[in-house]
């Protein structure tokens, strides 16, 4: 064996020993996660990956600066967050969660959340309709749903009824029922058909489908991928996307697309966006402080501007022109219980 080879071997065996020691230490850490989690000054927030940007850019810097504590944001999907809480019951590592309202209902039913109002002072200044199930969760923003229209092709629609006008033959795009904003169209259709208050209209699906079928001649398509819908809208092939989320539509407008989002006079709905305290989660006081900051007027104003959503704190003025926009509450328990049957019915009655 030549000298360099022997040296190299010795060197590599040293490396191997070092590696072994390191991996043993690593395994020790993995085997005792509670120790790592119990380390102070780091709080884990579970949320959606779509909320990662504003969380990292606005929320976390503001909180870390104020409380001198590190926040880790785990961006995934609502159902994954639910699963994390279910699996770790008794030794939760998430302090708070941001999830869709329907998933919150399940989490409440399984005893995974703890009420907010007493520990979150700013919850007192929230607008009506954004605190749910006696404060189990609150909406931190209201991404509202309107009619996105191509400004080169038509004037602002004043009412949800306008899309039924025959002059828009095959120019209207609807979201499919797989998309949450599509479900809201059923409520609007039922409301237009029956004239009942929105809360009652949400229960009358016969009226909803009867009305929505009247829109068939005007339908260009129903989308599952919103990117395609905006593409068609911006090219002028479609005139309106009927049920368009402010966060998406106004972000595209801000990038120069010839579109605008109309807020119809009948009022509208907002996309689910709840935040809640995890029951028996670590650092409950810090978690409450985080939500309190999130609901504070300063942060609310920043978040609303960044996401084109409505603030939920009543002290923060709504964007210009939207101060009178009514956001109707949605009975999410009703949606969760019936959505699958609505989708089946949609397939049959709205098919080409």
């Amino acid at each position: 064996m030549t000298e360099p080879t022997r040296l190299a071997l010795r060197h590599s065996s040293l490396n191997r020993r070092g590696f072994l020691a390191a991996s043993l230490a690593g395994a020790g850490i993995l085997a005792a996660p509670a120790i790592v989690r119990a380390q102070p000054k780091e709080m884990v927030v579970g949320g959606a990956s779509s909320q990662q940007t504003w969380t990292n850019e606005i929320m976390i810097p503001a909180f870390e600066k104020k409380y001198n504590i590190k926040v880790v944001y785990e961006g995934t999907r609502s159902l994954v967050n639910l699963e994390k809480m279910q699996k770790n019951k008794g030794s939760q590592y998430l302090s708070l969660v941001q999830m869709d309202d329907p998933v919150m209902i399940t989490a409440v039913a399984e005893g995974l959340l703890t009420p907010l109002p007493k520990v979150v002072p700013n919850a007192a200044s929230l607008k009506p309709g954004v605190t749910h199930m006696d404060g189990m969760w609150v909406n931190y923003l209201q991404p509202w749903v309107g009619i996105a229209y191509n400004t080169n092709r038509m004037a602002a629609p004043a009412s949800w009824a306008e899309a039924y006008d025959p002059k828009y033959k095959s120019r209207v795009i609807l979201p499919g029922l797989q998309n949450t904003e599509g479900v809201m169209n059923l409520f609007l259709a039922s409301f237009l058909k029956t004239g009942k208050p929105m809360a009652e209209a949400q229960k009358d699906m016969d009226a909803a489908f009867a009305k929505l079928k009247e829109m068939k001649p005007n339908l260009l398509m129903a989308y599952t991928q919103e990117g395609q819908a905006y593409n068609l809208l911006e090219q002028g092939e479609a005139f309106m996307v009927y049920g368009s989320i402010s966060t998406l539509a106004l972000a595209r407008k801000a990038r120069g697309a010839p579109i605008e989002l109309a807020a119809p006079k009948e009022g509208t709905f907002s996309m689910p966006s709840g935040v809640a305290l995890v029951k028996d989660g670590p650092m409950p006081e810090m978690a409450a402080a985080y939500i309190d900051l999130m609901l504070s007027p300063e942060i609310q104003a920043q978040l609303a501007a960044a996401t084109y959503a409505l603030p939920t704190n009543g002290k923060v003025p709504a964007p210009a022109g939207l101060d009178k926009l009514v956001i109707h509450p949605i009975d999410w328990a009703n949606v969760s219980a019936n959505r699958a049957s609505w989708v089946t019915r949609w397939d049959k009655e709205m098919s080409l």
């Binding site: 095959s170 499919g176 029922l177 797989q178 339908l219 260009l220 398509m221 129903a222 989308y223 599952t224 991928q225 395609q228 593409n231 068609l232 090219q235 092939e237 699958a340 989708v343 397939d347 049959k348 709205m350 098919s351 080409l352």
Partner: protein, 276 residues
């Protein structure tokens, strides 16, 4: 005759192991799931699916679109394959590149391009109006016609290449020989050219048909949520409704249709092969 083990067969072993793990086992699990009820084995998933008239519409949609896609691919692909087999040198290379290169463009990109082509102010509508076929621009996008056009574009190479690979092995002199013996063109086509090409045609048809029955991205982008096929219904059952029993049922029916088509065409091509 005693069957002797050929060690060369072992070369297929890595692929076989891989496919068993990533394909065979999941398929068995999937198929089994469709026959599972609350208390063991059941046919109720199938009986409830097939007793719903709308689901027959879905099966009809799937087969009809796949059929027309295959017809268009065959009508365009067969002459192309003949020309390709006849061509020589640089022309043949250019043709092959033109056929194979589009395969490297993703389906999503292609489908988005079709969205532009099939628009009311798109090029297809412009041509049809200019040639007087249409009085005014009509909508092709989000119709079955548009879907078939787009799908045929994506799957065309899978029709051309099998036919070409068979034709290039056929002796071109056979055509001339038949002509010398006094066979008129139509007779030559049906009795010489077509039987020679048949294994390739059967192969192309089975590939295109099974691809077209199971396509998912193309219909969701070219016709949208209002036209359900077995593939889109399967996707929705798993991803949105979390109804595994329904998803397993539709997926198994789809699998059955695809396997039936491949099996039938294998039988057909074997019959043709023997008669040669």
């Amino acid at each position: 005759m005693k069957l002797r083990f050929d060690p060369v067969l072992l070369l297929a072993l890595p692929a076989a192991i891989y496919m068993v793990i990533v394909f065979a086992i999941p398929v068995v699990v999937l198929v089994a799931r469709g026959f599972m009820g609350a208390d063991g084995f059941t046919l109720s998933n199938y009986s409830s699916f097939l007793s719903e008239p709308f689901n027959w519409v879905v099966i009809g949609n799937t087969l009809r679109v796949a059929f027309w896609t295959t017809v268009v691919c065959l009508a365009l692909g067969y002459p192309t394959a003949v020309a390709l087999a006849r061509s020589k040198g640089a022309v043949q290379v250019a043709m092959l590149i033109a056929i194979i290169l589009p395969l490297s463009v993703g389906v999503v990109v292609k489908t988005f391009a079709w969205q532009i082509v099939l628009r009311r102010d798109g090029i297809v509508a412009a041509i049809l109006v200019a040639t007087g076929v249409w009085d005014e621009p009509k909508l092709l996008l989000f119709t079955e016609h548009g879907l078939v056009m787009g799908a045929a574009n994506v799957f065309l190479p899978f029709m051309i290449l099998p036919i070409y690979s068979v034709l290039k092995l056929a002796d071109p002199n056979l055509q001339d020989a038949a002509a010398t013996l006094g066979a008129p063109p139509v007779f030559r086509f049906f009795n010489v050219a077509l039987p020679l090409a048949m294994p390739g045609i059967v192969g192309g048809v089975s590939i295109v048909f099974s691809l077209a029955t199971s396509m998912y991205v193309i219909p969701s982008l070219l016709i949208g949520d209002r036209f359900q096929t077995l593939a889109t219904l399967t996707g929705r059952a798993f991803l949105l409704m979390r109804n595994e029993a329904l998803g397993a049922t539709t997926a198994t029916i789809l699998l059955f249709l695809a396997v039936a088509i491949v099996a039938c065409s294998a039988l057909l091509s074997r019959g043709k092969g023997d008669s040669r």
